[in-house]
């Protein structure tokens, strides 16, 4: 049941427990209890809204930064990751396999702001060996949802 609840909530966080219970053919009490448990266990970490900022008047830039670091003895990568992800500008941090160590996603108001963050905060960190910053030019799809096209029902109204 957990997996099914998550599958639905991931696409529609606003669905009521009442409707969720109907969709899954379970009782409301069970579904509600299951959600409470998953929130407590940090399986459900929040209920966010997917926003296409490009369609608003709000200025926003997203940058993807490849970061190479020297892991600290005894701490591995986690300690460095923590020093990076504590910044509020940092949207996401992933440890990667391959040619670099971290992908850091930054959201800022301007390119200059992001550049400043990288040059003044991220790059000077002791453990950071190098950074490569890539700015996002256009978002086509995010969180499994197309941001550029809207679903349109092309079917005839009535068919056998």
């Amino acid at each position: 049941m957990r997996e099914k609840i998550l599958g639905i909530l991931e696409k529609n966080a606003r669905i009521s427990v009442h409707d969720l219970a109907i969709l899954l053919g379970e009782s409301e009490e069970e579904v509600a209890a299951c959600i409470v448990d998953m929130e407590a266990e940090n399986v459900i970490c929040g209920y966010h809204t997917l926003i296409n900022w490009d369609a608003t008047n709000v200025e926003k830039v997203t940058a993807l930064i490849e970061v190479k670091v020297t892991p600290q003895r005894g701490m591995g990568f986690d300690k460095i990751a923590e020093r990076i992800y504590q910044y509020s500008e940092v949207h996401a941090v992933y440890l990667m396999s391959g040619a670099f160590d971290f992908t850091v996603i930054i959201e800022g108001k301007t390119m200059r702001g992001v550049a400043q963050f990288v040059s003044e905060k991220l790059a000077p960190m002791e453990e950071v060996l190098s950074t490569a910053t890539h700015f996002v030019l256009k978002k086509y799809k995010d969180h499994g949802t197309s941001l550029v096209s809207k679903p349109h029902d092309e079917r005839m109204l009535v068919t056998p």
Partner: protein, 389 residues
């Protein structure tokens, strides 16, 4: 000028859906729960395979019975899903949708005057295909109290010494009824005793929500007297690709193939290449869509019951078939008034046979959001009717 037309064709009644379609098309911004096809797009890997085949210039005829790779995949699929083994070379053919296979099966087996048992309510094409093949259609009126399953008694009561074929279409359009292995066993026994061949239209087989789909062909003694019809439209959301197939003993299939060879030549090549990908890598897509339909099914049934509409629990396809008998009007009247008052298009049960009177076919091949809006409107309509009563 002399009458250029065939009397046989003139006498075929136009589909009841057609009539309703004309009314709906006149109505601006109507929302519909009236379609008989999936709302999902064909999975991208399937479309991609079709595009790739075009890029590679695979634009020629395939053999009459279809691409060898596809027939092999179909053979493996049938073994995996209904546990019946068919020789891909002699017992499987690819058709232009399941619809063509229905037509071929009737034409290959019916002699003038042979009786064909057609349980109703059912899909609209069995009757005209039977008539075009000079068969005599004999309807069996399925009952709501049996959850629209065919019972042994109903079958026995309809058999005469002219009975040759039985059409079985489960999971069913329009009722959503399914027949389990236990339900099919007595039917199979009668078919063997009375020497009846079954045309088993299993186009909705992947959309079964309780247990595994059961095919009558898998029961002892039935493989040799069953034509299994299935296709890609419903399971893989591929309606527009027009691709189906038939599996039957060589004796029957070779004659079906003869008609297909002269009338059609072969099913669309692009679609066949795409379908290979659907069969090889499509299981996860089917599972995802099935789960989504199942959620909507529960939602629609619950909403209808909450607003006081009686409906039995459908375990297959993507239709709910509620009764509107308590409102004291015909299906046609209810559907027309609903359309006028609330702009919701629903197909009256009578489009699927006279015994569909008193019922509506509601399709849940729509997004939840769409279903919610439409059901809210139906609820409003039902409340007005109740207030008037």
């Amino acid at each position: 000028m002399r009458n250029p037309l065939s009397d046989k064709v003139i006498n075929i009644k136009p589909s009841g859906i057609r009539k309703f379609f004309d009314i709906v098309s006149e109505m601006k911004d109507a929302i519909s729960l009236g379609v008989g096809e999936p709302d999902f797009d064909t999975p991208w890997h399937v479309r991609e395979e079709g595009i790739y085949s075009l890029e590679k210039g695979k634009t020629f005829y395939t053999s009459n019975s279809g691409l060898k790779e596809l027939k092999q995949e179909i053979s493996l699929y049938l073994d995996r899903r209904i546990h019946v083994q068919y020789d891909y070379n002699k017992e499987i053919m690819v058709t232009v949708g399941g619809s063509e296979a229905i037509d071929l099966a009737m034409r290959a087996m019916i002699n003038p005057g042979d009786e064909v048992l057609i349980p109703q309510p059912c899909y609209v094409s069995y009757l005209p295909c039977c008539e075009l093949a000079d068969g005599v259609p004999v309807f069996i009126n399925l009952k709501e109290e049996n959850e629209f399953k065919l019972t042994a008694k109903e079958l026995l009561d309809s058999i005469t010494d002219k009975t040759k074929l039985l059409v079985l279409a489960f999971p069913n359009n329009p009722t959503g009824a399914v027949m389990t292995k236990e339900d099919l066993e007595p039917i199979a026994k009668i078919c063997i005793e009375k020497d009846i061949v079954v045309i088993s239209d299993e186009i909705y087989s992947e959309l079964t929500y309780s247990g595994e789909h059961a095919s009558i062909a898998s029961l002892p003694g039935m493989r040799e007297r069953t034509v299994v019809i299935n296709g890609f439209s419903k399971a893989y959301a591929m309606t527009g690709w027009r691709l189906g197939y038939a599996a039957a003993p060589e004796l029957i299939l070779s004659q079906m193939l003869k008609i297909h060879q002269f009338a059609i030549m072969c099913a669309p090549t692009t679609s066949q290449y795409a379908a290979v990908s659907a069969m090889r890598e499509g299981d996860a897509d089917v599972a995802r869509m099935r789960e989504s339909y199942n959620q909507r099914r529960r939602y629609v049934v619950r909403r209808l019951r909450d607003m006081g509409m009686e409906c039995f629990e459908p375990y297959g396809a993507f239709y709910v078939f509620p009764s509107i008998k308590r409102f004291g009007m015909s299906s046609d009247e209810f559907a027309t008034k609903l359309l006028q008052a609330q702009k919701v298009a629903i197909v009256p049960g009578t489009a699927f046979g006279d015994c569909g009177e008193g019922f509506l076919r509601i399709s849940y091949a729509y997004s939840l959001k769409n279903l919610e809006i439409a059901l809210d409107r139906i609820e409003k309509f039902v409340k007005t009717l109740e207030a008037q009563a």
